[in-house]
């Protein structure tokens, strides 16, 4: 038994050695990477990353972290939330499956985004084990999100294509800039929700892929390198850049989403818990869908 254990450990040892020997970053490619760094004709990704990471990313994120909620506070104070009657009829909007999927996504985002921020401002937390724990949480919740992102993408896909209403919705910013209650042109999902959908699914997938690339670091999938024409190290740099840029969009829309669900529309959060939306809410905020349902006689 001990012998097999030993053999197993020895083989792991060798596997790790072989892994290192096949490295795309620290082995044969290393000098090429060095030579390519900052050369004419190269993408200069290393310098770009250094410049952005050193000077801008954290600042912009901090601005978002502080600025976006600040805008919401102002909005809430001056324009106030939309209040709809909770006594009227309820319209069944979200199936059980879609709710489960949403909840998983919600939980993972609630973990992902703060942990992401903690990593970004790791120095404020003194680095070390706490931040590492946050980093591991970030990775673990990605697994949950990774499992449901495709189903989520599929179940809502048919409702998410661009519609004439969306343009109109965008022109008036969903009616959130006025206090008056009047029907807003929108189908089952309004343009804001659609944007969030695309950002959360496609953007989310980009986040997963770029995050995974950075997590696994020294993997060797020749196809990716051939397809993108990037060396492994440049692939990682692109990943880091995309992760930061796309992440910014996700974070902003996530904040908006939370604000809308929790504060801007009173009680809106219940609909994703119970599956039912207030009829009045649908009538005003999703007027096109309301009309369609009426026509079909479903109300």
């Amino acid at each position: 038994m001990k012998k097999y254990l030993f053999l197993f450990i020895a083989s792991l040892f060798l596997a790790s050695a072989a892994f290192a020997a096949d490295s795309q970053i620290w082995d044969a490619m290393r000098v090429q990477n060095i030579l390519g760094y900052g050369q004419e004709g190269s993408y200069k990704l290393g310098q770009l990353f250094t410049m952005l990471q050193a000077n801008y990313f954290a600042q912009v994120y901090l601005a978002v972290l502080v600025g976006v909620p600040a805008i919401f506070v102002l909005h809430y104070l001056f324009l106030g939330p939309k209040v709809f009657s909770h006594d009227g009829k309820k319209i069944y909007t979200f199936s059980l499956l879609s709710r489960i999927i949403h909840q998983i996504a919600a939980i993972s985002f609630i973990v992902l985004i703060p942990t992401g921020f903690i990593m970004m401002f790791g120095s404020s937390f003194g680095g070390g084990s706490f931040v590492i724990m946050m980093k591991d949480l970030h990775g673990l919740s990605t697994i949950a999100f990774g499992i449901i992102v495709i189903p989520m993408f599929l179940i809502w896909l048919k409702d998410m294509f661009l519609h004439w209403d969306d343009i109109k919705w965008l022109m008036i910013v969903g009616g959130y800039l006025s206090k008056t209650k009047k029907p807003v042109p929108a189908g089952k999902f309004n343009a804001g929700q659609k944007t969030w959908y695309w950002m959360a699914t496609l953007g989310g997938m980009i986040m997963i892929l770029t995050g995974a690339a950075m997590y696994f670091l020294d993997f060797n999938i020749a196809m990716i390198n051939t397809m993108t024409g990037l060396s492994q190290i440049d692939l990682l740099r692109v990943s880091a850049l995309l992760h930061a840029v796309v992440g910014l969009g996700v974070v902003i829309l996530f904040f908006v989403h939370i604000y809308m669900a929790v504060f801007a529309i009173k009680g809106a959060i219940n609909s994703i818990i119970t599956g039912y939306k207030e009829e009045e809410e649908v009538e005003y905020l999703h007027s096109s869908w309301y009309k369609k349902l009426k026509k079909q006689g479903k109300i």
């Binding site: 000098v31 290393g46 050193a54 680095g127 990682l236 880091a240």
Partner: protein, 201 residues
């Protein structure tokens, strides 16, 4: 180390480097590194092609304006007064950003966590240990020996079989390099890789 004059630098003379891997192993052995991490690596390019093959030894170049230090989200890097770029492994979270910023591919990440997670970053310390108590057991375990504190030369350069790898104050290193070029009677070649980056200012 008195401050103003010294800026410690490495330089590998590829006319002399023969890929004996002495530096790699000397480093690994002196600091008892896990396998899979080589702080110093010898790379040969154009192997077997007459007139084009050359080898060179790379590790952290202890850049003057170290990009790794700029991008680290947890600020675990610090630059000593003599120019040696070090980091604190107790603070490092193994995010990999320093690697993306580094022109030399110096930072490495031993996969010591569960499921092959990346551990704290490891790189050449120019044999100067880390922020822990000098020559303490804790320092030795995390960073390896602290030869600089003992007043000794980093082990890779000291053990270089052909004296291709030299280390010391940037000015001295440049002088040795120039002396070698001069004795060969050749004009000064284009500066070696990353020279401008690592030796900047």
């Amino acid at each position: 180390m008195s401050s103003e004059m010294s800026r410690m630098k490495f330089y590998c003379d590829d006319d002399r480097c023969i890929e004996c891997d002495g530096c790699t192993v000397a480093c690994a052995e002196a600091h008892e590194l896990p396998t899979g991490v080589s702080r110093r690596k010898v790379v040969t390019l154009n192997e077997g092609i007459e007139g084009k093959e050359f080898s060179t030894s790379v590790a952290c170049m202890h850049c003057t304006d170290a990009p790794c230090e700029q991008v680290c989200p947890v600020d675990c890097f610090y630059i000593r007064e003599d120019g040696i770029v070090l980091h604190d492994k107790d603070i490092c979270i193994g995010c990999g950003y320093c690697l993306y910023a580094c022109p030399f591919g110096a930072p490495q990440f031993p996969r010591d966590g569960a499921f092959g997670t990346k551990g704290a970053m490891d790189k050449c310390t120019m044999c100067a240990g880390g922020p822990q108590e000098t020559n303490s057991v804790h320092e030795r375990e995390l960073y390896g020996q602290n030869l600089i504190a003992e007043g000794k030369v980093p082990v890779c350069a000291a053990m270089c079989s052909t004296k291709a790898l030299i280390v010391g104050d940037a000015q001295d290193v440049a002088n040795i390099y120039r002396a070698r070029i001069a004795s060969k009677g050749k004009g000064v070649q284009s500066a070696p890789y990353g020279w401008s980056k690592a030796y900047g200012n």
